[in-house]
Structures are given as C-alpha cells and as structure tokens.
Amino acid sequence: MNKLIKFISRRSTWAIPYVIFLLLLVVLPLILIGVYAFMDYSGNFTVANFVKFIEQPEAIKTFVYSVAIAIITTFLCILLGYPAAYILSNKEYNRSKTMVLLFILPMWVNILIRTLATVSLFDITGIPLGEGALLFGLTYDFLPFMIYPIYNTMMKIDKNLIEAAQDLGANQLRVFLKVILPLSMPGVVSGIMMVFLPTISTFAISELLTMNDIRLFGSIIQENIMLSDTMNYGAALSLIMLLIIGITSFFSGDEESEVSHGGII
C-alpha cells in the first residue's frame, strides 16, 4: 500500500498516460512510415519509392508548388498579421481586450468549418474558386496563428525600452526599426512555424477551395496512402515531407531560442 502511494505521488508517474499515448500515436506511426517507405508492395526492402519520387517530375513539381503556396500564405499572414499585432499590443490604439478577442476568435472555430464557410462565401459572391481562393482561404484560416504569437511577444516588450530609445533620440520610425522589430522577431518565428508547417501538408482545405482542381503535396500523399498498392510510395512521400519540415523547423527553432534568449528578461 505504501509503495502504491509512493508510486502515485512521484511526479514522473503522472507522465505515464501521455507516454503511452505518445508511443501509440506518434512514435509507432513514425516507425511504420519509415518501414513502409523502404518496402515494396509485397514487403521486400527497396528504395524504389524514393527513386520514383525523383524520377517523377509531377510529384516534385507538386512539392515545389506546395512549398510556394505555403511561403506565399506565410508571407501574406506576416503582412496582415504583424501590423494587426502591433496595433493590438499598442495601448494608444487599443484600450480593451475585446479587439484582441475579435482577432483571435476564428481560432475557436474548426478550420474545416471555416473553410466550408469561405467556399460558400465565394459561391454567393460568384467569384470562381481556384488559386486565388486557395491563398485567400489559407491566409484567412491561419492568420490568427500568426497574430497571436507576435501579439504576445510585443506585449512582453518592456515599455521602458521604447522610452529609452526615444530618450536617446529615436523618432517613432527608428524606435520601431531598432527596438520593436528586433524584439518581436521571436513572435514572428513562432508565427511562421505555426503557419508555414501546417500549410505545406494541407490537403482538405485545398481540395475544398479549388474544387479539387489544384492538388498540393498533402493531397498526393493522401491519394497514394488511400490505395493499398501505392501505400508504400505514399509513406515515402510522407517521410520526405517530414524530413524537410524537420530541417526547416530545426533551423528556425535554433534561431528562435537564440533571439528569445535576448528578448525576454
């Protein structure tokens, strides 16, 4: 009995449910993806799946296109989100939390529902769906994920620093360029991670917003995985995407920790 109490009261014990969850739903699938990617249909070891990717210009083209869409979406989110976060964090323009709530509110609604609503909006106004609709939809879906981290970082900037810069002779523009911008970079990096990474692998949103006309990398993976004879090829494509996402987030993660080290006192 005593042993049981001791076991329960240990902090590490509390992690066990999540560790089981992690093993079943994250680690195991990852291993399976890795294994399947190096197997052919009948279960023998092969690298043919990767060769197929490199040899098929169609797949590479889709991949590059997906990255381009993700970059443009991220860029649009920064373009719209940064000024929004700046205004929200500035007490002179925004005195209540209501505005912040309004900006963040879309995060409360499921992303698929929002996308469906966007589709209806395009239908009602008679604007054709397609690439434009896709960019609009993605930007609309992911904008709050850009605004919130930037807003948070900006709220944490010590107001004394802004006064110190003014005191040393900086006008509003200089204060922004030399103090606010560099100190808000950790927020921008988090925002990029939260927008760029999910947009690369999106497929449902692109299918809905383009009437299945534009296929992103995520769609190709999904199509291949759904069919049992191309499942291994799909696994290889997943692995490639995972690696690329891993590499980008490793680099940006590195940068983030460095910047935020200086950004937060």
Binding site: D158, N160, L161, E163, A164, A165, Q166, D167, L168, G169, A170, N171, R174, K178, V179, P182, L183, V259, H261, G262, G263, I264, I265
Partner: protein, 464 residues
C-alpha cells in the same frame, strides 16, 4: 507653498507653474522651480509625491497639463522626448536586451549618424568613465545589476546631454553597492560638468549627493534648499519628519525668543512670530543633551528604551507630564534610569503652523444638515438658508476614526503620520481627494483605510 529661490541668470531649466492631472487626480500642483547650469539637483519625496511625474515631464514622456518648461530660455513644453538634449538613466536600467554593451552605448550616437571611429572612441571613453573597460562585447543580460546600471549611465552620458535625468538609478542595488555608486556619481558630476537632476525617495542619498534638494509631497514643493538648509532649517513638519529623525511638538510662541512646548517655557532664537501664535517645534534627537539626573537641568525624565544604532544610542525619554522625546547620544542610559535633559536655544527650531484646524467648504442643506467633503453631515441648528455657501471648521482632535471604513460617514486612507511627543497627527486623504488632519492617541499605520465621523456639535459653521 512652492516658494521659489530668487531667479538669477544662467538657468538651464525653468519649470513654470506646472500642474499635471491624470484624469481627475492631480499629481502636480503649480510646481515652479529653476535649475542652474551644472547643478546637482535632487527631487526628494515619498512614493506618490509626484517626483517621477515631474522628471517624466522634463524628459518629455509626459506633457504638463498646465504651465511651461524652458530649456535655456526656449520653450520645450511640447517638444517630443527624442528632440530634447537630455538623457535619462532609468530605474530598471532599460538596456536593450538584443544589443551587446557596445551597441547599447552606441545607440544614441548611431542615430546621430556619427562616424564609426568617433563612436568607438566615445564609447570607450564612456566605458572607462563608469569603470567597465573591456566589457564592450558582453551580453547585457549576463551583467550584474550594478554593471547594468553602469552601462545605463554610460549610454546616457556618451551623448553629452546638457541635462542628465536620473530616475532612482540606485534603488535596485544593495546598500554597499549603492554607497559606492553614490560616490562615483558625484565624481562623474564633477568631471562632466553636466547638470544632474536626480529623483529619489532616499533622504540620505539626497543629502550626500546634492547641491540643491527639492522636497516634494502630494504634488507640491515643500522646500528648496541646500542639504544643510533642509536639514537644519526645515520649513514645515513634513520636511522635518522626512529628512532625518526629529522630535516634532506643538508649541506656542509666547513672545520673540520665548516658546512654550511640553508645558515648559524655553528660550529660543526665533523671532518675528506674533505673540501667542501656535507653532510647530522641531528638535533633532542629536541636539538634546542627556545626563544622569541633576537638579539644575531643564527637563527630567525616565528612559523607556535604549537601542544601539552603530555609532550612537537612540533612547526614548518619558517625561512626567506624558511627553516622549527621542534622544541620540554616544553614551547609553539604561531603561528605567532617571535622566535630565538640556536643549540649547539655538537647537530649538520653530516653524509656523500651516493650519490650526480643518477648514472645509460646505453648503447648507437644511437647518440641521450640511453638505461637505462629498457627504451630508448632521450639524447643530444654525438658522441659515438652504444652499448658502459656508466655511466649516473642525478641530484636529474632534475627528473620529473607525477601523471599519463602513462605519464612517466618509472613507479615507492614512497618508502621513507625525508623532508629536504625546499624540499622533495624521493626514487623511478621503476618496474624494479631500485632506483631513486628525490628532489621535491611537496608533494607525501609513496606508490604513479608515472610516471618518464628525459629531454635529464639533462642526463649527462660519458664514462667508
């Protein structure tokens, strides 16, 4: 109250009738002050006295609601902070965390588009001045509090401002470090020849550093003078109590050079008061001579406590007539011992009383009620018309304070406590920002919330 020194030429800063409101709350009330070129001026006062607001108006982060600020005769009241030739050393350092020591110090110079090699020289010199040579490439977050403060000082002085504003720059440092930095700041002031305006709540710091001290309380300048003036000739009870230790007593000026307090007549050196004028008397505890009981001394009493303070002993002496005096001496007299006291005439400092009772504006409601201080009070029948404007007087001792603020007609908080030898004199600020002065034998703490009651028979109505 804001008494000004006579204005000579060569002032670097003139503050003229500056008032500041934050919403309904007035934090500065008609402040006028001039600062001479090269002077080390300290603005001293307890927290919430308006000293930081005054500094922020000088640096441009706040704008005066009324009045003007002149810099060498030119009006800078509306000039934004980045165009003022002044630099600030902030209380919390406010160093840029994304820049190293060098770039922090070079920040202002780079904005002025100065050549890189000149910037380098200037930064080096500034670092040397604050004793931080070789720290150029250090991350500011890796520095200790004292080092960060030095960098903050270097960042300000490197721009060669005409005026250096220091906002409690040493408040976050420990005692030993603070003492060292005080000396260094004084040295720096001498070497640079820049005007220093220093804000602090630490009276000892103010006495050590300044050429001129400006004592503030409740948004009003209480006294301006040299450290010696402020210490030896405090203008009112607030200054006497805030600077150093003091015995403050109620007294009556019987005639020139004769004052009565603690039921005893004393010779003094003050004159020019009207006969029998009520006054406040200040005696510094170190100015009272204490000795073993002897018949020919002025006062006799019994020691009730004796504490060793490092250099001297601080003793409380209980007099037979109920008064208590604080006495400091190098010799200790044990508690319960019978002692005698002597006070020299020149050590008795007599100040004009600011007021002898509370005075309020009031309006008649009906024969037994009046409106004042934002509430309706019952009063004795007076036979005046409704809506007549009158003055009301209430004696200090006739205001009743209650622990539970719900029990009072009014609510307020205790702001200033003066011990007057045998009772406490409190300043109470009501929720409506009215000031009440109360004499009481009960012990209250600074910041206590109290309920306030005044009995009908204690309300004296005076027709305008």
């Amino acid at each position: 109250m804001a008494e000004n020194r006579i204005e000579p030429g060569g002032n670097i800063i003139d503050i003229k009738h500056v008032s500041k409101w934050f919403g309904d709350k007035q934090v500065l009330d008609d402040v006028s002050l001039y600062i001479r070129k090269g002077e080390f001026v300290t603005i001293l006062g307890p927290s919430g006295c308006g000293k930081t607001t005054l500094l922020r108006i000088l640096s441009g982060f706040e704008t005066a609601s009324e009045g003007e600020i002149l810099l060498e005769g030119a009006d800078i009241t509306q000039t934004p902070p980045h165009q003022r030739p002044m630099n600030t050393v902030f209380q919390r350092y406010a160093l840029f965390p994304h820049l190293n020591v060098y770039d922090n110090i070079a920040f202002g110079l780079k904005l002025k588009k100065i050549k890189t090699n000149i910037i380098e020289n200037k930064v080096r010199r500034a670092l040397k001045m604050v004793g931080m040579t070789d720290y150029e490439h250090r991350d500011v977050n890796s520095l200790s509090g004292g080092q960060q403060q030095r960098v903050a000082i270097a960042r300000a002085i490197v721009n060669q401002p005409q005026v250096l504003l220091l906002d409690e720059p040493l408040a976050a440092l420990d005692l030993k470090m603070r003492k060292d930095m005080q000396m260094e700041l004084k040295e720096m002031h001498k070497t640079l020849g820049i005007t220093f305006i220093y804000v602090t709540h630490d009276q000892e710091e103010a006495l050590t550093l300044s050429d001129t001290i400006v004592v503030m309380s409740e948004g009003v300048i209480q006294q301006i003078g040299t450290p010696t003036d402020i210490y030896n000739e405090p203008e009112n009870c607030f200054v006497a109590d805030f600077i150093g230790e003091s015995n403050i007593l109620n007294g009556i000026m019987i005639e020139d050079r004769l004052v009565k307090f603690m039921d005893t007549e004393f010779k003094c050196v003050d004159e020019g008061f009207s006969n029998n004028a009520p006054v406040d008397v200040v005696i510094r505890p170190e100015d009272i001579y204490i000795m073993a009981h002897t018949e020919n001394a002025m006062l006799h009493g019994r020691v009730s406590s004796c504490i060793f303070k490092g250099v001297h002993y601080e003793m409380t002496v209980q007099l037979p007539n109920g008064y208590e005096l604080m006495v400091q001496d190098y010799n200790a007299f044990e508690p319960e011992s019978e002692v005698s006291l002597i006070i020299k005439p020149s050590d008795i400092h007599v100040m004009k009383k600011e007021r002898t009772c509370n005075t309020f504006e009031a309006t008649i409601v009906d024969d037994t009620h009046i409106d004042m201080l934002g509430a309706t009070f019952e009063c004795m029948p007076h036979g005046l018309e409704k809506d007549t404007e009158v003055k009301v007087e209430v004696d200090f001792g006739k205001i009743e304070l209650t622990d539970d603020k719900e029990d009072g007609m009014l609510e307020g908080d205790v702001r200033l406590i003066l011990y007057k030898g045998n009772h406490y004199h409190l300043t109470i600020v009501t929720d409506e920002d009215d000031y009440l002065y109360v004499d009481t034998n009960d012990v209250w703490d600074d910041g206590d919330m109290v309920g306030i009651n005044i009995l009908p028979e204690d309300i004296r109505i005076i027709k305008n």
